[in-house]
């Protein structure tokens, strides 16, 4: 038996949807517990005063990456069957920027907005309305931008194949970058917290 179970047809569409709901609720629960149901906490990321978002997301990436690597090494996971979203670098760059603007302006990303709705936050409800409106508008204008959306296609790209290096080297590099990033983020947080403390002291 080998993962991914869905691709190996160990269960069908219905079961995969049920599992998606269960995993999604678990994911949302831990996002909420990490404090990501608060727009203030999320936006603090962009002012470098609270790097929790960066730390949580990067820890998740590193954990999942190491887990997948060792599972496939042990022969329990077939990496070539794991879905990798195809890369269209230019439209995805533009889309990423739009999402980033929305994140800073609205205070949520799509996942955390749903988490915040579940605890009854009205700003998140408005944000979700905006998300739905955006999805609808995108669907309406899609025919006229379809050419752009599917341009600069690179297919299924992973860092190791793109750089032409061993997968394990990429894994190690990402872990290294993450650990250095955590250290850097904590340093920046401390520095800004001290400055803010100093500002507050000057005001009183």
């Amino acid at each position: 038996m080998s993962a991914p179970f869905y691709r190996y047809a160990l269960f069908g569409d219905e079961m995969s949807l049920i599992l998606a709901v269960v995993i999604g609720i678990g994911f949302g629960f831990f996002l909420e517990r990490a404090g990501f149901g608060s727009a203030k906490k999320l936006v603090a990321q962009f002012y470098f005063t609270d790097m929790a978002v960066f730390k949580v997301m990067f820890s998740a990436i590193v954990t999942a990456m190491l887990g997948m690597f060792y599972l496939s090494w042990a022969g329990l996971l077939d990496l070539s069957m794991v879905f990798v979203a195809p890369t269209y670098w230019l439209p995805q760059l533009v889309g990423g920027l739009i999402l980033g603007f929305g994140f800073i302006i609205g205070g949520y990303c799509p996942g955390t907005s749903l988490v915040a709705v579940s605890t009854g936050r009205l700003d998140a409800l408005a944000f979700c309305g905006g998300v739905l409106g955006g999805i609808f508008a995108y669907g309406e204008v899609y025919p006229s931008i379809a050419g752009f959306v599917t341009s600069t296609s690179m297919g299924r790209v992973t860092l190791d194949s793109w750089l032409g290096v061993r997968l394990s080297l990429v894994v190690f590099a990402v872990v290294l970058v993450a650990v250095l990033g955590f250290w850097g983020a904590t340093t920046v947080e401390r520095k800004l917290a001290r400055r803010e403390g100093a500002d507050a002291g000057a005001l009183t």
Binding site: S59, T63, L66, F69, Y70, D78, L167, V175, A178, V179
Partner: protein
């Protein structure tokens, strides 16, 4: 940070150390499987017997005309033969290349060779390695040449066959071939010769597809 004494570390430092250790250990190994596999020969025999291991040249032509992009077309002949002529959108990979050719186990892969023997062998190699979506182009490039590039209409064709031939005629033009109508079996054997297939359809097939979407 200056002293390396794990007893004084907090949870974060410990987690970072674990991650770094696991990350460094990955350098020792590679998760890609080797060439050795175990396979269920009965299952493979079942697939072959039930004839779900191939597609026909006509089907493939329709897929290309429709601009379907949910499959990979692999030419397993030599690179020289590939350079001389290949089916539009085909990629070149010999049997030996196939081992580390970037294919994925969840893709639909259509293999073809000149006749069909090499593609069948390639199909077996891929199936054995778990590429469940592998298919053979039935009859290989020979079938493609006879049925798609240079389709032939017998003189005593039924009206239904004539109607189908009209479709084939347009498809063959699309791929730079030429339909042969009328004539008996003897003439067919004679016309078989101009098989030196033109490399014409390689250029800009995308635009043609859009102009000519009668496939579905």
């Amino acid at each position: 940070m200056s002293r390396i004494d794990p007893r004084g570390w907090g949870l974060n430092q410990r987690l970072a150390a674990v991650a770094l250790t696991l990350g460094a250990l990955t350098l020792l190994g590679s998760p890609s499987p080797g060439g050795a596999v175990t396979l269920d020969t009965r299952e493979l025999a079942d697939i072959v017997e039930s004839e779900v291991d191939h597609i026909t040249a006509d089907e493939l032509a329709d897929w290309i005309v429709q601009g379907r992009a949910d499959y990979r077309l692999i030419d397993v002949r030599s690179p020289e033969a590939y350079a001389e002529y290949h089916i539009p959108s085909a990629e070149s990979a010999t049997l030996r290349d196939l081992y580390d050719y970037p294919l994925y186990r969840n893709e639909k892969i259509v293999l073809y060779s000149g006749g069909g023997i090499h593609s069948a062998q390639a199909w077996f190699l891929l199936r054995a390695r778990g590429f469940a979506g592998s298919y053979i182009l039935l009859g290989g490039l020979d079938a493609w040449t006879d049925e798609v590039l240079f389709p032939w209409l017998p003189a005593d064709a039924t009206p239904a066959e004539v109607a189908e031939f009209e479709h084939r005629r347009r498809v063959s033009e699309l791929f730079g071939g030429k339909a042969r109508a009328g004539g008996g079996a003897v003439e067919q054997a004679g016309v078989e010769l101009p098989k030196v297939a033109p490399p014409a359809p390689v250029a800009a097939p995308r635009k043609r597809r859009k102009l000519h979407k009668q496939g579905c």
